[in-house]
């Protein structure tokens, strides 16, 4: 415990860097071999590279979700594939919230239920790690994307992360995220921003959303 705190303070490199299989806003393709509690992904590690996972952020937003993931690493290469099912339970809550904030809206029935799947391949090249992810979602609408993420060691266990991708079918085709990641022996965090480019007559323009991930690995 002391060693962990010390390393966090001094940013000393530690073997067996921890992961929750996420970069900033995409999958990292890494193997999850320890039970993880994280915002973007909480997972129970199973044998042979399998894991059952859920997005805690989604759960907190009343979109209960459960997924299965399999990942494998050989040398510098690693691959992961996964699928998830999301069931949205928050319709009454969101409806009340929106109706309270905007009395013109008498009823709002949001929906975010459906399956999603992804596959990622990554490679460690010393200071740089690259990951390519393909994903597909059917949550109220169809969405598919191809993303490329790069992580560059900044110093110690800090990484600079940049992602760029393309969304097929989407209104906003550009996926772009930028931020930093810290991966310690038991704890990790990612902080950055992701481009949304979202325009809606009801809302002010929203150019970016924060990308946040905090996770602990046990075992």
């Amino acid at each position: 415990m002391n060693r962990w705190i010390l390393s966090l303070l001094l940013f000393a490199p530690i073997a067996g860097a921890t992961t929750d299989g996420r970069l900033l806003s995409m999958d990292s393709g890494e193997v999850i071999d320890r039970t993880t509690l994280g915002l973007q992904r909480s997972a129970v590690a199973l044998p042979a590279g399998f894991a059952i996972d859920t997005s805690l952020i989604g759960d907190l937003a009343l979109a209960a979700n459960l997924g299965v993931r399999w990942a494998m690493a050989t040398g510098p290469h690693h691959v992961a594939i996964g699928a998830r099912y999301t069931q949205f339970f928050g319709a009454p809550v969101y409806s009340s919230a929106i109706a309270m904030l905007n009395p013109t809206v008498k009823q709002f029935n949001p929906s975010l239920s459906g399956p999603s799947a992804y596959a990622a391949y990554g490679i460690h090249l010393g200071q740089l790690s690259l990951t390519v992810e393909g994903r597909y979602e059917h949550l109220y609408y169809d969405a598919a994307g191809l993303n490329v993420g790069g992580s560059l060691v900044l110093g110690g266990n800090w990484w600079l992360v940049a992602e760029v991708g393309y969304r097929f079918f989407g209104q906003v085709p550009l996926h772009a995220s930028l931020g930093v990641r810290f991966t310690g022996e038991h704890f990790g965090l990612a902080l950055g921003a992701t481009y949304t480019g979202y325009q809606d007559p009801q809302l002010p323009p929203l150019p970016v959303l924060p990308a946040l991930d905090v996770f602990w690995c046990f075992g």
């Binding site: 806003s25 973007q40 809206v105 949001p110 975010l112 609408y141 480019g197 007559p201 809302l203």
Partner: protein, 188 residues
Amino acid sequence: MKTIALLTVLSLCGCGGDVLAQTDPVTQDIPVTSVGLDAYAEIALDMPSETQGTVQIQKVAIDTDVVNSSGATTMKLTVLLSAHGTAMPGAPVLFTAQNKPPEFATAVNILGPKSYAPASHTAEHVESTQLAAIVQQPRLWIIVGNTVTQAGIGDGLPLKLTLSNLILTAHVSKSFQGLGAAVDVSGL
């Protein structure tokens, strides 16, 4: 503050939703000042912002109570829809068949002419595909007309037909598909 809260709720969604939005009720009198001369009122209605932008219009309807408060005069109501107009919300424009504005010629009939008996109170519900097509512009104009061909005994001018609590209800499907980034950062 309200906008930030709305934004937070919607970005947590990153999803899609069915929205039911309504305009504030409008009550409008249509006074006939000369029997045989049709009287009109042009009312401007601002569309709820929920109907603007990328939405799929599922259903649009106008609900109102038509009140003929006269003792013995039958009145006929006509309702037209126009994409252009001069009236402002809260400031209707009254005119007669003799001085119709230019938008009258292109306005689309969505109700009537329909007769209402004296001392009657009738609820009307109008749904129309033209209404659904026009609702995506920020403001639309409803022209309501009152035709009186014969004044009833004991009824003096002006003879008023009242549209009470006119409400436009839009049922739209809104996909917040543009918030795909919100789904990406959530880990879903």
